[in-house]
């Protein structure tokens, strides 16, 4: 259970997000909006990378908005950033093990599950993550977060750079883990149609403010698109 109220956040004195509230519980929660709307800023704030200047973030009732990023990760909140998402000088295997430190089940099981999703990774294990192709790097970043077996997964445009096949498979996997493993997924995306297909709730940001939020069944795609034309 993730609950955010009155959130305000930004960079070095510049406020970007203003008065954002949301609650997500064991479901796919889509965050949409134009470039610069504040999607990444919201996810960075939830992950503890930047500190909110006002408002509360609660996770299962506990306030976490004052915790440093590593403590937030230790609570079972996995984060896939949009940029610089792998450790370039570590190998793929090492990148994945970093996520693996936190999970509960045996590492081999989790790896097997990951290779089932992204078979390509298995062939690249000893390669430095910095030399991977764009899509392969994205798979490693997602893989690292999945290895953590998080109870909340923050995904910032995870399908950017993935082939159509992997995009479909990833959406399918995301829907599956939220349904079967009761994982809360906060998903920032540009791919509106596919995202609305798996999300239960949608939140459209526009210039740092909430343009629209609600259950996906009750929101039309036109309403969503309006949030992009300001």
């Amino acid at each position: 259970m993730f609950e955010i109220t009155g959130l305000q956040s930004g960079y070095g004195g510049v406020t970007i997000l203003k008065d954002v509230a949301l609650s997500a519980d064991r479901e796919v929660y889509a965050v949409l909006g134009a470039n610069g709307a504040g999607k990444s800023t919201l996810l960075k704030t939830l992950a503890g990378i930047i500190r909110p200047t006002a408002g509360e973030i609660r996770f299962n009732g506990e306030r976490i908005d004052r915790l440093p990023a590593h403590k937030i990760a230790a609570l079972g909140i996995g984060y896939v950033p949009q940029e610089n998402c792998v450790f370039p000088d570590l190998t793929v295997a090492e990148n994945l093990s970093i996520g693996g430190i936190l999970g509960k089940r045996s590492k081999a099981d989790r790896l097997a599950e990951l290779y089932d999703l992204f078979p390509d990774l298995q062939e690249r294990l000893d390669q430095k993550a910095g030399s991977l192709s764009g899509g392969e790097g994205q798979m490693v970043a997602i893989g690292r977060a999945l290895m953590q077996e998080p109870s909340v997964l923050l995904l910032d445009e995870p399908t950017a750079g993935l082939s159509p096949r992997y995009t479909d498979l990833l959406f399918r996997r995301v829907a599956e883990i939220s349904r079967e493993k009761q994982v809360t997924v906060v998903l920032a995306e540009q791919n509106v149609t596919s995202t609305l297909g798996i999300a239960r709730k949608v939140h459209v940001l526009s210039l740092g403010k909430t343009h629209l939020q609600g259950a996906t069944d009750e929101v039309s795609i036109e309403q969503v698109r309006q949030g992009y034309h300001i």
């Binding site: 134009a34 470039n35 709307a37 192709s133 750079g161 159509p164 096949r165 995009t167 479909d168 992009y228």
Partner: protein
Amino acid sequence: MTVEAKLSIAGLEKSFVGRKVVSVDRLEIGRHGIEGLIGPNGAGKTTLMGLITRKLKADAGTLIYRPGGTEIDLRQMSMDQVARAGLVKTNQVIQDFETLSIRDSLRLALAPAEREQFWTVFTKRRKRDAVEAEIDEILSHFPFENPNGDARSAGEKKLLDIIRCLLLKPKVLLMDEPTAGLPDDLTRAVMTLVQKKVAEEDLKVFIIEHDLDLIWDYCAHVNFLADGRLLCSGTPQEVKDHPVVVEKYMGVVDV
């Protein structure tokens, strides 16, 4: 009459630690206005473009570039020479200049080499209205909130990268997943501008995308690359229905 290709590639090969990543027997670019390159992740698409722009050195093969009447052997050139000769690539992975504002970043692209020399710092500065007008013109196509500010979000940086390359007035523009991270309407705005430039100027475009709608809608010709090899090419319709493409690349229907 067939149009002469701007870029002819033959026997091009590149290996990383013993693994052959690119192995393209023949590829001609520039017969069609906008041409597409698709293929699975890790197929070697970005590497192929890196070989063309001389960011990477090929192990074997020839690369002939024909900007005007002349033929240029690209293997003799460095990446900056290639770019100045009109062969430019946008970046797949987000790249930016941390301390340059949007406008400065575009001025950089437009600055001629003779103004960027050690001693020009002391020469008198002229106001360059033509440059500013050109920047204003291209920015008017896109919704930058404040063109004098910084591009900070991923999408803003990506868009800026494309605009920078367009300002260089390339003859061949290689676009590596230009629209990943851009919303649909902006994707269309970018492609409409590119289409306009292709129609009006001497510009050919070669574009990598995983956004297949974009490929089918805008490309006259599509190439499919897998495991470093060109497995098929043709019109969008031909490629779309090609069994190899469907098997190796296309999405799975039931989501």
